[in-house]
Amino acid sequence: MSEINTGGGGGKHDGGKVRSKKASTRVDMTPMVDLGFLLITFFILATTLSKPSSMTLNVPDKTKTEETEPIKASNVMTIFLGKDNKAHYIFGKAANEEPEVKTVGYGYEFRQALQENARKVGGEKFVVVIKPTKESTYKNMVDVLDEMAITKLKRYALVDVLTPDEKKLLKEKVKLDA
């Protein structure tokens, strides 16, 4: 009476004999489209983010020597960039007064130390002197300058000459050739 229409993908009723099940020839495209859109989104975002940013660095003019008032050692924190991504610093005393040399890695500890010392001195009087050594890398220097930007310290200087007192202080910690 009524015909049973089995539709596409079904099998042929072969009169009760061998039923050959034909595999469905239709592929579900949904996952492929998903992947396609994921890749597009990735490329859209990746190409805009890869623009490098730049950090400004101003150095004083070597030819002009300005007379500035001498800075009190109690307001100065001197950071020496050592090897293996370690920084050594002294605070509050000049190198010949036997200050305590502390060693930190870069990152949170370093920032804490900076801010603590800045608070001790207070406001505009705090000065940071950054002295890279032969063992330090470019990355160390950029990281320290970045920390200056993060902690919003405006008075800092990049000097690469070490005084003899400082050399003595650092002798064990950093290998300083002549």
């Binding site: 495209m29 949904t30 190409t47 623009k51 940013s53 730049s54 070597k62 032969k134 890398t137 950029v142």
Partner: protein
């Protein structure tokens, strides 16, 4: 007895068209992504929280590789040819038109000037294989062997508005950086941009 045979509409949508569009868009974005021209050496820069973007034009890039080698490049192809002409005139060398054209396609290079001519005559695959030894510099910034200062001078002669960007590798040691700084300071250049990667500032930090 079946009354009305409800014709069921096919509930599966043909996804082929959507898939085609997706791949077209993907291809478009891959192709329009700017191709970075062959850098003389891979330089991995440190990251900083600075939000200032590197300008796209009128820029002189001094690269400092991991091993201390110095690379130099400027952005505009015409300016490169002009700079090469100035340099050649200063040194008493001459470059053929072909060599100049080759040079104008290089975004940066790190060769002493006496090796430059032979390098430009090599085919492209060989050029990629050569390990460039870097541009000679020195610690005072003004010695006669310091070729970086001449490139900087001639580049600025070709284009007065050039801004200087320093691209240093993470592991480059400080003494080599100091040499580059000394070379620039000897020419009275005291303001630079250091090219860094982008890094998110710490939580709760607001710019001044």
């Amino acid at each position: 007895m079946p009354a009305v045979k409800v014709k069921r509409a096919s509930s599966s949508v043909d996804m082929t068209a959507m898939c085609d569009v997706a791949f077209l868009l993907l291809t478009f974005f891959i192709l329009t992504a700017q191709f970075r021209s062959q850098d003389a050496a891979a330089i991995e820069t440190p990251s900083s929280i600075s939000g200032i973007k590197v300008p796209d034009n009128d820029i002189m890039t001094i690269g400092l590789g991991r091993d201390g080698k110095v690379y130099f490049g400027i952005d505009n192809a015409q300016n490169r040819i002009a700079m090469l002409d100035n340099m050649a005139a200063a040194k008493g060398l001459s470059f053929s038109n072909n060599e100049k054209k080759e040079f104008s396609l290089m975004s940066n290079f790190g060769l002493p000037i006496n090796q430059l001519k032979s390098f430009l005559n090599l085919p492209k695959e060989q050029q990629a294989k050569v390990k460039q030894p870097g541009i000679p510099t020195d610690s005072t910034g003004a010695a006669p062997t310091n070729e970086l200062k001449e490139w900087v001078y001639n580049a600025r002669k070709a284009n007065n508005n050039l801004r200087i960007a320093l691209k240093g590798d993470n592991l480059a040691k400080f003494p080599e950086f100091k040499n580059v700084l000394a070379t620039l300071q000897a020419q009275n250049i005291n303001k630079f941009n250091l090219i860094t990667g982008t890094e998110a500032p710490p939580a709760g930090w607001k710019a001044d």
